[in-house]
Symmetry: C2
Subunit: 384 residues, 2 copies
């Protein structure tokens, strides 16, 4: 097992009706910026629950955070924070709204000239505004981690940052808020969660039995509940299990002591940046390619995955590895996720700009840093 550190101070409040607890969680005197996206929270009753819980507190609203949130949008929020002397941020929505909030929280107290440096130069964040979240779309795990991904609309760059100062103070997870999600977002959430787990699991073995088993637990939960949710979108326990699985998949827990990959995410981010694909869609397309092209490096884990998650006990490690990859593709299709570039009307011509960017940055991806730009090309060619 590798050495590791684990730290996660976010308080989780989970369950039906728990949005009402906002009243206990936020100071009575707080000047709140309520941050949300396209306004679906006004249709499903979440907005009303939040406003009712906040009572007489001063609330300014900042709506319109887009999926894959723009840096430029975050800058608009900063102006309002100054004008209104906001001292607490309350994102209500999914990973995009929460990610935007994390950047806003850090940028609001950033003393440098250009807050883009937080992303591009990865400057250290010394402080950030406090914020708590109300999650309505389980997928990214942002509600219980310290990372965020922001896109510069101008240059189509999608970059991540992480800071211990950017953990939510609290996150409220009420599975009932996810009843009204469109199928596309439920599918994206399941795929995102699944791929988060695979990125932290499907590398090489370091005899880390417990983290392995925790990861497999999340995968099995996704397979079991994910295959039922389509026909049961208002089954509380199915939604609750999917919501908690998404949080657990990227809060640091299953990363403890493990090597990590993240190649699928890095490649997927470029597909989103260039071709405006949903994050989840990029992942279900790219992952099978990464696993297939890097199969040799991941053989033990792929075989273990096949045995423990799908019960394939027959055949060589290589045969079981192949079965695991096929099973993943099959699962993605079962939940309605695309697995090829052609499914989203892209062809081989989409690849060059992505390779060029990886070459410019000099990035080598994967748990062994051996996924060169040429390997990325091979991976994407596998997904035509």
């Amino acid at each position: 097992m590798n050495n590791f550190s684990f730290y996660n101070p976010t308080k989780i409040i989970f369950g039906k009706g728990e949005i009402a607890k906002l009243d206990r969680l936020i100071p009575k005197t707080a000047k709140i910026l309520l941050i949300y996206g396209s306004g679906s929270i006004k249709k499903n009753g979440v907005y009303e629950q939040v406003k009712s819980a906040l009572g007489k507190r001063k609330v300014t609203e900042f709506a319109g955070v887009e999926p894959n949130p723009f840096y430029e949008t975050c800058l608009d929020a900063l102006t309002i924070i100054k004008q209104k002397k906001i001292d607490f941020l309350l994102p209500v929505g999914g990973g995009s709204v929460i990610d935007a909030t994390k950047f806003i929280a850090a940028a609001a107290l950033y003393e440098g000239k250009d807050s883009w440096d937080i992303l591009e130069k990865q400057v250290e964040i010394k402080d950030a505004m406090p914020f708590g979240t109300v999650l309505t779309l389980p997928a990214t795990g942002s509600e219980m981690n310290k990372g965020a991904v922001i896109t510069k609309s101008e240059t189509k760059e999608k970059l991540a940052f992480h800071s211990d100062k950017c953990f939510p103070v609290f996150s409220i997870l009420d599975p009932e808020t996810t009843y009204s999600l469109p199928k596309r977002q439920v599918t994206n959430g399941i795929v995102d969660t699944f791929v988060h787990v695979i990125e932290q699991y499907c590398t090489y073995s370091v005899r880390n039995q417990l983290s392995d088993r925790f990861a497999e637990s999340i995968l099995i939960t996704l397979l079991e509940e994910g295959s039922k949710v389509g026909k049961n979108p208002t089954d509380y326990d199915i939604k609750a299990n999917l919501m908690w699985a998404a949080t657990m998949a990227l809060n640091g827990l299953i990363a403890c002591g493990q090597p990590q990959d993240w190649a699928t995410h890095s490649i997927g981010h470029e597909l989103t940046a260039f071709y405006d694909l949903d994050h989840g869609v990029t992942l279900s397309i790219v992952l099978p390619g990464v696993l297939r092209i890097m199969k040799k490096d991941k053989l033990d884990k792929l075989a273990q995955l096949a045995t423990r998650v799908w019960g394939y006990t027959e055949g060589s490690r290589a045969e079981r590895a192949d079965k695991a990859i096929l099973a993943i593709e099959r699962f993605f299709r079962t939940v309605g996720a695309p697995t090829h570039l052609s499914d989203v009307n892209l062809d081989a011509s989409c690849i060059d700009p992505i390779i060029e960017r990886f070459e410019q940055r000099g990035w080598k991806l994967g748990e062994k840093g051996n996924i060169t730009p040429n390997k990325v090309r091979e991976i994407l060619m596998n997904r035509l």
Copy 2:
């Protein structure tokens, strides 16, 4: 799934050589009380590592915390804290040393007259001294939770308290520090961890798939690694897995959304208080009795346990439940833990004082609050 909240701000630093990081974790100007037990840390090199990492900081030592730590011992530490103006506590040891420290941390800032009220009257703890831990005996999970159990030597009362103010700021877990543990303590640690999981798992189903699977992950890890550790006491990965399993078993994670039992611990505490048995020893004796006598209430979970952890797929739920209980007893004996009162030279006469105490307190135990004093008698009679 039940509603729940989860909060755990303890920073974990895990791995070989990590004790050296104390230098980064504790302020240079701290006035430290180094708290430990019988002095085994002076024989296995841990004391030297700690002292070396602390460098020139002012360190006062408080040795001699006993297993099942005494309230009276904690009071002695309070005197030293005042005398020496201590501002940081550093327990180095197992759960007893850490539990004692939690009580000392709370009692040092307690404004009431009698700090025993923290345990007996469960008064709210408004503040506590900061402390970080160096764990050397994986078992209780105290290194990453907010609870402690303290015994009043005078009256043989063993009571627990919990407070959000009593999370360790950090805990350093170096599996190499556990190489020199005597077999008895390794066994006690495995049993304690195992029973922590069962108390939070083996109740009734609330369709909480992920918490169930996480719990089963810890149990499987204990079975696999626990059966190997006897012959491989210095195998790093075995020790690392057992150490991390112990922490994960009682840090709030697997309790999320689950009903909980804790009858085995409550009964075990009385066995320790009256007859001075090791905590782990009381658990391996009592647990099979609780499961057998309360089998009807726990049927679904016992059957699930049998199937998922031991692979028993044949037979009725009742038959699989019986197999699970037998498998647990067999595992306890494999690691060298006693499973009957006669194994520790106790007979039926040991039962009355315990029943009397439960009757006095009016406690009803278990996830349904239906384990009356009479049921406790039945459970203990099953363990003769």
